[in-house]
Subunit: 217 residues, 2 copies
DNA sequence: TAGATTGTTAATCGATTAACAATC
DNA sequence: TAGATTGTTAATCGATTAACAATC
């Protein structure tokens, strides 16, 4: 199974397929054709078939796709069938919000530690996990097999933190700080940047240019 | 100034330019060439020039771009030079995290109301704004000029909520629920979906396929 | 078998990169 | 003026869509 060279555009769409298939599953739908799914998701049937065929033939001519089977297969492709231990660094509002997000657990992301620099938070429990001090991270990573670190700390400290985490064996960073960590981290370390403010600016652009168009008509 | 037909790919990159220019500004850099910027941002200089020229010529041959000027212009394009009133619907962890995010204010997004369905939260203040009950939203929108609603409520209730908000004049939805609101909302209403779990799944995909490749070598 | 729908190749469309003349 | 660098056109690359033969 060589999954090398799958385009970013395809990978970006996979979680969305997964979500829609999950909903169909909940609704008790057993099978679906690329055409039906394309209407629901507002993409072309052609694109769905092309996307899926990057990973193998999951359907059957004359029948379509079995929802449960396809859901499972995409889950496997996304790596949701294995458990990944995760820590959260930064127990502010956002860090705690993410910690409380129950569904991650269901997808194989197991929260095993929460860390913060603020001594006031020491020992405070979030979802049954006591917040620990940041300087204990190296020791923690030595004793626990953690792959993912979620970074909800200010951008000023995030580069140094990323360095330290990678040196202690962290394999992937889920970065909420306003920096593109991928540009400062060694090759092979996975970085997923979440820039919420950029999302809001995009909204602002669309809102503003819509209003401009209204005026000019 | 006709900004019709700017491609999504370009719009997606604008906030990133804005961020890098802001950093250069803070660092006291006065001018920059597309080439220098391209190295910093890890994109091609050609792309930078193409992107900017969608909106007009902001540079000068032989000189490059004035950082302050370009920063301001991109800000204008993104609509960050006007104030947009915003409410947050859903005062759970994520809603409160976003409410506490100070920088939005600086970019022209003014938080004017926070709402929740849980009576326990009634009157609790977040950043000086008391949480109000959701059933008071229509009246609130009648009395206040609000353009943007941030939705941090469960997906079960988000479609009805969106309907209600739009009926009461909301122009844009910043949606954190696990649904594609753009597919259920009338034309002309701006929707920006933020699917954090999809981001984590992408991370998971990259991590998993990296590990698979390691094994096969 | 006939009908439906996939898997896949070919055609089209759009986005990115390269190149260079214009010009500061 | 000479050098630098933009704005912009042309070339390339990649992604999406259309079409259809294969096949359940």
């Amino acid at each position: 199974m060589d999954e090398k060279g799958i385009s970013k555009a395809v990978i970006k769409r996979l979680p969305r397929y997964y979500r829609y298939l999950g909903e169909l599953l909940e609704a008790g739908v057993e099978r679906i054709s690329s055409n039906e799914l394309s209407e629901k998701m507002q993409v072309t049937a052609s694109q769905i078939r092309q996307d899926l065929n990057n990973f193998g033939g999951f359907g059957q001519q004359g029948y379509g796709y079995n929802v449960q089977y396809l859901y499972n297969e995409i889950g496997k492709i996304l790596g949701l069938d294995t458990v990944h231990n995760m820590i959260i660094v930064g127990a502010g509002n956002l860090g705690q919000a993410l910690a409380n997000y129950v569904n991650f657990e269901k997808r194989g992301f197991r929260l095993v530690g929460i860390f913060d620099a603020n001594p006031v938070l020491q020992g405070v429990s979030v979802r049954g996990i006591p917040i620990q001090m940041i300087d204990t991270i190296p020791e923690f990573l030595q004793n626990n097999d953690v792959e993912i670190a979620t970074l909800t700390i200010p951008k000023e400290s995030v580069v140094d933190m990323a360095d330290m985490l990678v040196k202690n064996g962290i394999r992937a960073l889920w970065n909420y700080a306003h920096t593109d960590l991928n540009l400062v981290v060694p090759d092979g370390v996975i970085v997923e940047n979440v820039h919420l403010s950029e999302s809001l600016m995009r909204l602002s652009y669309n809102l503003t240019s819509y209003e401009r168009n209204q005026k000019n008509q």
